[in-house]
Amino acid sequence: MSISTRFWGFFGRNSAKPETDARCAGLGILVAFLAPALLFYAGFAIYPVIRTIYNSFHAIKPHGVVEFVGVSNFTTLLFADATFWKAVGNTALFTIVATILDVFGGLLLALCLFARAPFAGLLRVVWFTPVLMSYVVVGVIWVWIYDYDWGLANAILRWLGLGAFEQSWLGHPSTALWSVLGAHVWKWLGFNMIVFLAALYALPGEVLGAAELDNCGWVAKLVYIIVPMLRATIVNLLVLSFIGKMMVFDLIWIMTGGGPLWSTETVSTYVYKRAFEWNTFDLGYPSAIAVLWFVIILAFIAVMTQLLRQRDKLEF
């Protein structure tokens, strides 16, 4: 009998749960199922988080010198950091708008394919390509598209005779955030589309007729029939998309670096700046930003998952 057998056996014996409950299992079984995930997770995700929380209450000096500063990082953050609040505002705006555009745009795209658009099979691949590109490449492409001189956006405007509307899209505070947002939505629409497409195919046959876009009154049908039936999918995607947007970093970092004049500064870029760009090795303050943000996101998720509670059973 090996040591490991006795180890697991020990846990098994301690379990008070009888053998016979289909939904209960001995501690040994639970541990066996959860341990690998928890090991990875505890070591390389939870532990770093705990360190981060710890750091947020300290000033980190070089060579392992740590000085307790209480909540001073947080008070500075909450009451004296205009950039942070600017970043919060930008992130909130970005998150809300991009999430809604992403999810409902994805739904509309899915409906297009679902309404038997020609070449739907090919389009499903083409429309998904932006999802497959890395942020670096998406960022570079869109910086070019938005370029004032040779960018595609202005080229099209001039070609349409709308030269008066040409812009330095990423160069002006009033357009920069929206321009980045456009690129971000462009990248992720395809993902939401695929998920919705799957959900649409899974709808019972009777509503399929109603889902056809080319009937008159399709807006009403969308609002009163399709959206309610896809409620679970929508909520699920809203949560996923929401989380992704709240942490948006790569694309903004590549496209604008938070500028011009902080107009695209998000919480993530601000954390990164404070941690890596601010001539300092002190992680206390950036940690405090991350912790506060983490708490805010968790609160939002908690509210949103309440909506997820009713999960319909699958039919087999």
Binding site: K17, P18, E19, T20, D21, A22, C24, F316
Partner: protein, 368 residues
Amino acid sequence: MAVITVDQLSKRYDSTVAPAVKEVSFTVADREFMVLLGPSGCGKSTVLRMIAGLEPITAGTVSIDGKVMNQVPAKARDIAMVFQSYALYPHMKVYDNLAFGLRRRGIAVGEIDRRVRAAAAKLGLTEFLQRKPHALSGGQRQRVALGRAIVRDPKVFLFDEPLSNLDAALRVTTRNELIKQQREIGTTSIYVTHDQVEAMTMGDRICIMNLGEMVQIGRPLEVYRNPADTFVARFLGNPPMNLLQGRFAIDDGRAVARFAGRGVELTKRATASLTGYIGRKVIVGIRPEDLYETPHAGASMARLPARVAVVEPLGAETLLVLALEGSGEELIARIGRDTALRSGDRFEVALDTSAIHLFDPDTTKAIV
């Protein structure tokens, strides 16, 4: 050979709430087909799952052939179960669904194949063996589920509402087929349902449960004729037994039930058991089929003035919803199909006084 004995079986999920199953005891004889009947949430499925070993037992014992099974894991009890949802593995072909339970038991491949094909032939599934469940009709899926139990050749079959997902017509044919199979194989079976027709037609015996407790057990007609309480009285039979407010009295030495403004003499009743109820309230139960449009000779009949509220012709017979003039209570009568009565008509409904049931209004138990 398998005798199942359930003794004082109880289940409590949460100490703050009333137990889900309270001290249920019964014995299922070898080769017997026992039906557990009751409304949803009455604890019948929990009893079944405790017998199966899928649910821990709070108190009491489950034994098979005299051996206590409480701590024996499900897989070692040699029990096969058919689920309401069929629980077919969606990713496996019918063949593999049938073979899945055998493979785990170290049975030779050839033997597995023989058993699977035999079961498939018996159930008419041979041509579907290479299909996956989603390509089968409801009835076919049901048969696969049954087949999965049969191939195992277990000591005990457990059925958890296996017909409730079928449409009405299919349910009748599958019901008959299932009984035929069980009689042929002769495996001791426990069948859970909330459908009283299934219970009446299939069960060797019926065990009726309500609110976690066993109310009555017996052969179907026995139970039907002598319901132990008002719950059983109303649960068995469609439409259910009529229950009216009444009072018991002794009039000139005769036992009389007063209800609906009349006093009705109770025939064929031993007055001895009723002495305690003299002058007290009772519940009077009358089955719809014991009511008639006109009294017929040879039986002792009483008559109650009533007004026809609704006429429901069902073809073979007609149901009348009556409002009793004496008390305003409602009564359902099942009468011949050629009645001329219309809604609004007044007449005196006849009842067979020998078929009157009496129940104690406090305990709801039958007064025998």
